[in-house]
Symmetry: D2
Subunit: 244 residues, 4 copies
């Protein structure tokens, strides 16, 4: 099996305009994640950001992406619809997609799932989050303990308007009294999606080893399979399967 | 419990332009289905068609619809995007939606599910279809036998590009050698969707009693529930749940 | 539609041997629940307890039960295997089953689900529980707010060794830092199962109106449907479906 | 990653007592499958049969099995309950299990799923079966075409009394007019189960390359993951997560 080609996409705005965020992610969230993934055997890593031409998601880049990671927040609306549609089609054709944290409100996530995925509760008080593993035998839980504790995070709370996940791997507990479906797997078309909740830009979440482990696990899980051939459309007139 | 308000929506083109279809459904597919539903206790039935203003789906009509049935084929593209978006939002807010036959290619079905739901195999040779019940205890299977046999139907074959149904009630067998997931239930937002495959316009499928029984069952299953309240967005700063 | 026949089954040991429990449920947990259900239109209610002959679950009683509620804890092992098997078969034939709280460790729940459903974390410190509704449009969430708060409860924590629920309605938050899948729906055979977590015998949980509302909702959801006929076993030699 | 240790279990009765079966599988169905798997890189293959001591499933053998394949038919009842229970526990602890054809009626399959999995329709007329791929992006569909055609097979027809699969990969079409859920994936405890329908002993099904490809794919899919740690039982008294 060849390498898995990963592209880490980031909006990359907070890091350039907010000093606290810049101090945590001096080269952007995408570089923090990409730096980690580059150290993982079997992965080939690139990055793309919103303000590049075509948001960095040219046809060539997409054609060379097996798994796409997506972090966005402030500028969901600036992502052009035709790029979103290309990404959606690539996922349906088999590309993996990992949507991180505030990416829940992105066009690509909402369009692939069909619901208003931006709808949830939130509170930005830097509270404790515990992500409990509810499917310990799942590939995305590889190498973890019973839960991951993040000392300071933004809270996301239910009701989260998503279709029931095909596989629910993590449920979060928050200090302030809320819960959240934090690790959600979906199969759509030939592609796999993984939504992973943590990652508020104001806290060093993507420097925490267990979080990076989950992202790595997610990449291997979401990588395309050389699956069955398919065809669509009109088929030839009926020929009896059974010859008398 | 009050009556369930049902609106049967139809493209209503084939019936006006094709003599064979007109002979089967002289007042349109919508009227054939509405006539049946009007005989069912507990239902209040209206119809709407594409060529009415706002496709008959005015705000008032939608506000007075608990369950919407959808039959379309030739003119999916003529359905205006803003109407589709209104219907989508109503479903997420709790309205039931029953998508019939070639409605699989409609904007509303595709947008709610996120995949290219128009993609499947088809053959229009008037062959035998058997819909096998795989969940006999499901409310949508009420009153049926082991399978429903339709003497002449258009074939739809897998691979059908849909998300795996939350509940799969029927699987079709076709004379020519194909199978199809023909009765597919989804929950999206607060609403319920039911896709029911049969209903090619060239055959009197919506005059067959078992087919009408399934549609009736679907209406009762998809009707909204006065469910839990929900709220979204920023919540107040953290207040300890536990008072020391 | 006739009345739904409900049987509330209880182990009925704690209430007879522990003064605190007796003070909360002087006539047993089963009577507290049955008293409530008797006030609901459309229900016909009976009770059965472990120490009755055949644990109160005679063939006649089971034949007259549409939905069975199950509370057990200390004496799971005393429930005779042949009675468990009869109940299991009744569920597969269409009877609804609602398993409450410590009933997660019962033979009937474990046998119907196939996993070691007794396995979970617990702590008996009388802490706050919040049950968040994650499927607000579900019939079991009828009439609720965003969450149910129980002031003092026993904690159950993940990992809970259950198959992923067909529908997950509630997720619990606990003061001590844990989460739990607290409202789990399953379809097995022709029957429906609902597991509902709250109900430690030391606290007046079954006197709390929202809890009783959920139990009522569960009964209506789990009630049998007069679904499709089925047959099994050898079928006649092949007869061509298509006559040449 | 080390090799995956596979054990192919077979009842091994038909092959010893029926000449036609013996001519197809002179060394038993287990050897036909094991011979194939031995040629696959990354697998280490052993076999076990009913009439060995402990049915060949000693503690040592099970401890050295990552994925167990199971073919049984005539003698389901002869498999000792304590061995079944050991296998069940191993699956819940993470071992993969692939149940083949008439293995649907085995104790191990029924106990892990909780329903009467022996219940289905069947007809032994040697008819055509087509297994349509409904999830082409699934790892178990790797390398396949749109469907697998088996020229002569025993028919299994719905209603098949199984819990709805977590992932449904294949649906079969049969010449005589039936359909069947033929490739069913389940997660139970930490383990994965795959039920694969084909394999009647009277036809050379396990010599057909696509069938062997699916079995190989199934082994890789079902192999255990070094997943999250878990613990169960009473936990220490509540310690505030949040230090005031």
């Amino acid at each position: 099996m060849g390498n898995i080609k990963v592209t880490v996409w980031n909006e990359y705005r907070h890091e350039r305009h907010n000093e606290q965020v810049a101090s945590i992610y001096p080269n952007g969230i995408h570089r923090a994640i990409a730096d980690h993934l580059e150290g993982v055997e079997g992965l080939e890593v690139a990055t793309a950001v919103l303000d590049e031409p075509d948001h960095g998601l040219t046809d060539e880049r997409l054609a060379n992406t097996d798994v796409l990671l997506w972090w966005g927040h402030l500028a969901h609306d600036e992502v052009r619809d035709e790029i979103v549609e290309k990404v959606r089609q690539r996922v349906l054709d088999g590309m993996g997609l990992i949507v991180l944290h505030s990416g829940h409100g992105s066009k690509i996530f909402s369009k692939l799932l069909g619901t208003n995925t931006g709808m949830l509760k939130w509170r930005d008080d830097g509270e404790i989050e515990r992500l409990w593993v509810v499917e310990p035998g799942h590939p995305i839980a590889k190498g973890l303990g019973e839960y991951i504790e993040i000392p300071r995070e933004e809270m996301y709370g239910e009701r989260f308007e998503i279709p029931a996940p095909d596989e629910l791997v993590f449920i979060s507990w928050f200090e302030g009294g809320e819960v959240f479906r934090s690790g959600c797997c979906y199969r759509r078309g030939r592609g796999k999606l993984f939504y992973f909740r943590p990652g508020h830009e104001m806290f060093p979440v993507y420097h925490q080893p267990e979080i990076l482990q989950v992202i790595t696990n997610g990449v291997f899980w979401a990588a395309p399979v050389d699956g069955a051939k398919t065809s669509y459309g009109r088929v030839a007139p009926i020929v009896p399967v059974v010859q008398s």
